[in-house]
């Protein structure tokens, strides 16, 4: 599922595939946890971009910046006009991480937007939440603790008045 082929609402198919590949490095697959790209977070971020136009510029800029950083590491694979966005996909995992780190250092605001939206997509994904054991806060809520035990406050009470008359 790591190769995304369909256009999103805002992102083109190749951008969805690129974003998913980046997301699989931001939150990699490990044990029972899926990678963020594999979990469909590129499509989720695409839906964020549709709903919140203000996110489009930073996310698209982040995609381009990471791809450009990848191009420096794999010049032979750098995408021309005919086949854009292939440099990152051509790299090994460690080189993908190096490209991401380069953008994180050089353009922290853009990188933070990419990371924040990826985390937002991943940790609101029903399948991920199921694995982690999270459910919505309502309707069950959480257990009510036993009534407050006032004896715990004896030491505080013994100190007497802590406020000033005025």
């Amino acid at each position: 599922m790591s190769e995304q082929r369909q256009d999103g609402e805002i992102l083109a198919a190749h951008q969805v595939a690129l974003l998913a590949a980046m997301q699989n490095r931001l939150i990699p697959s490990q044990d029972e946890m899926p990678g963020a790209g594999d979990a469909g977070c590129a499509q989720t971020v695409d839906s964020f971009l549709k709903e919140r136009p203000a996110l489009r510029r930073p996310i698209l800029a982040a995609l381009n910046a990471v791809e450009a950083a990848a191009g420096e590491r794999a010049p032979a694979a750098a995408g021309g006009e005919a086949s854009p966005h292939v440099a990152f996909l051509s790299l090994s995992d460690s080189d993908r991480d190096a490209a991401l780190r380069a953008v994180e250092a050089a353009q922290p605001e853009l990188f933070r937007a990419l990371l924040h939206q990826t985390y937002s997509a991943y940790y609101t994904n029903p399948a991920v939440l199921l694995i982690l054991g999270w459910r919505p806060p309502q309707p069950e809520g959480y257990p009510t603790p036993p009534p407050f035990d006032e004896a715990l406050l004896e030491n505080v009470k013994q100190r007497g008045k802590l406020w000033r008359d005025a």
């Binding site: 490095r25 931001l26 939150i27 990699p28 490990q30 044990d31 946890m33 709903e51 919140r52 991480d97 991401l100 933070r112 990371l115 924040h116 985390y119 937002s120 991943y122 940790y123 609101t124 029903p126 939440l129 982690l132 999270w134 919505p136 806060p137 309502q138 309707p139 069950e140 809520g141 959480y142 257990p143 009510t144 603790p145 036993p146 009534p147 407050f148 035990d149 006032e150 715990l152 406050l153 030491n155 505080v156 009470k157 100190r159 007497g160 008045k161 802590l162 406020w163 000033r164 008359d165 005025a166």
Partner: protein
């Protein structure tokens, strides 16, 4: 222009904490009350708490920052010149729709900072003037907590018991008792036992900051508004006031407002009460320009908008080896520590700090580092660190008293407007040296506390940007008309039938959450107005 030629006795602008309390008080006193609110009633089933993506709504339709939320009823703010962003909600209930519900009272010393500490100004009233109204307000809305806290004056038994001690609280108590510091269960605008019609008690679901679908939070739309409407108050929603109008004698005559459909309407009144919060109120007054008031209404001395105070906040988070389940319970409510509340100049600053012992939220909050300001790292370490922090982390809020400074202000932006073309506010604010030193002192104390409580990793953010919950001081109260906007009864010095009842009229801000004091003041002003209506109107 649609016009209501029947002048109301009292027109209230804004249906939040203050406007709701005043509407109830005045309507119960037999007055004809009309309230205009730019937002609408929220449907509790629209709250996100039942949805898997509930945490995402903190970034979208339930964001605290109106610039992010961008509902049609919100107005934009120019925040380019402030490190703290004003937060608010525009709906029936106002910002009590999405608050933490922390409900402390100011201390007596908070009203006397000039006399006691030689800074800022004293209020023209005292804690003891407000005390009966604090009690009345608590009884009206339902407060949970425990009387007997030695860090403040005695009070009547709380309406419902304090929150119980869960795993998170036990961790904090361990540290607090080791250090020998003051602590006490928080006073909360939240019910832990049956109170009031149609309300369910808190079931510890957690995210109070996105609204309470059970009506457990004692928010203005579940407490005062049903009671006010039952007493005959008329609440008109989706009504955005453009300006307060004046007659030839310089008295407020009513308002012009935009209806939900975009039409312009007029509402006349014998008395106008402004309750639009510490940003919305100066904005409205500055937008109410006339030949008699060329610089804005009630602004002859230029103080409308000046002296903006926030509570600068730093968050300090600790990670614990055992589960503390910080998500399981009201996010902001647990314990408070007032060990450092009163002035001690040896600490390097004047006035004090509150240490608020909070919880955490869900897995997304942990991942992005909502409280610590530090995200879980990406890459191969991600899952391990997320596991270490999720349900293992607690956040402390350090809240400091911000003293009034004239250059911190709300003005009108020259170009930015809301959806009706009304000029939007521009915020200019800097954190003072005194506030910075207080924050740094508090961060050091919170680190000490978390260490004593057994935290294995401690992180902090020096100043939380999205933390301008408390908007105060921009139409200050005082006896001297040259140095204040309203008198001790909230009455504008310049306009005898204009009153202001929100946080704008605070002279100083204390170091505790303001809503309890805002509502007590609203009841205090309303009581005076009821007794003096003939003279005022």
């Amino acid at each position: 222009m649609a016009s209501n030629h029947d002048a109301a006795d009292v027109l209230i602008i804004g249906a939040g904490a203050a406007g709701a309390a005043a509407a109830w008080s005045l309507a119960a006193g037999g007055l004809d009350v009309v309230c205009l609110e730019q937002g609408d009633w929220l449907d509790p089933t629209d709250y996100p708490h039942h949805r898997p993506d509930w945490e995402l709504h903190r970034q979208t339709d339930f964001a605290k920052d109106p610039n992010v939320r961008q509902r049609p009823e919100d107005y934009p703010l120019n925040n380019d010149d402030t490190p703290i962003v004003p937060l608010m909600f525009n709906a029936v209930g106002g910002s009590t729709v999405h608050w933490s519900g922390h409900f402390p009272r100011f201390r007596p010393s908070d009203f006397r900072v000039k006399s006691l500490d030689g800074v800022a100004d004293d209020w023209p009233l005292t804690y003891w003037d407000l005390e009966p109204y604090y009690e009345r307000n608590d009884a009206n809305i339902g407060v949970s907590g425990l009387e007997g806290d030695p860090s403040g004056p005695p009070r009547l038994p709380r309406q419902t018991p304090p929150l119980g001690l869960d795993a998170a609280a036990r961790v904090y108590v361990r540290g607090l008792d080791k250090l020998g510091w003051h602590w006490w269960p928080t006073e909360n605008a939240l019910i832990t036992a049956p109170f009031g019609a149609g309300r369910q008690v808190c079931n510890y679901c957690g995210p109070c900051d996105m609204g309470c679908p059970r009506g457990a939070m004692s928010s203005a739309h579940v407490t005062y508004w049903p009671a006010a409407v039952a007493k005959g108050a008329r609440l008109i929603t989706r009504a955005r006031v453009r300006e307060i109008t004046v007659d030839r004698r310089g008295r407020a005559s009513g308002v012009v407002y935009y209806t939900a459909e975009g039409g312009i309407a007029q509402q006349r009144a014998r008395v106008v009460v402004v309750a639009c919060n510490g940003v919305g109120t100066p904005r409205l007054l500055l937008n109410s320009v006339s030949s008699l008031f060329p610089h804005g209404l009630a602004n002859s001395n230029g103080l409308v908008g000046a002296n903006l105070m926030f509570h600068p906040i730093a968050f300090v988070s600790g990670v614990f080896p055992d589960r503390v389940d910080g998500h399981a319970g009201p996010v902001g409510l647990l314990l408070h520590c007032h060990e450092f509340y009163e002035t001690d100049l040896s600490r390097g600053f004047v006035r004090g700090i509150k240490i608020q012992l909070c919880r955490e939220s869900g897995p997304l909050s942990t991942a992005i580092g909502h409280f610590p300001g530090e995200a879980v790292p990406w890459g191969d370490a991600h899952h391990r660190v997320h596991r270490e922090r999720s349900a293992h982390m607690l956040a402390i809020a350090i809240m400091v008293e911000d003293l009034p400074e004239a250059h911190n202000r709300v003005a009108l932006d020259p170009t930015l407007t809301d959806g009706n073309g009304i000029p939007a506010p521009k915020i200019s604010y800097t954190v003072s040296e005194n506030s910075r030193r207080a924050l740094d002192f508090g961060i050091a104390r919170a680190r000490e506390l978390l260490e004593a409580a057994g935290a294995t990793e401690i992180m902090h953010q020096e100043l939380a940007r999205n933390a301008g919950w408390h908007l105060m001081g921009t139409a200050r109260m005082g006896d001297d008309p040259a140095a204040s906007v309203v008198d001790r009864f909230g009455r504008a010095h310049d306009v005898p039938n204009l009153f202001i009842i929100d946080g704008s009229i605070f002279v100083t801000g204390a170091a505790v959450n303001p809503t309890s004091t805002i509502q007590a003041l609203a009841l205090y002003v309303s009581a005076w107005l009821k007794h003096n209506l003939r003279e005022v109107a």
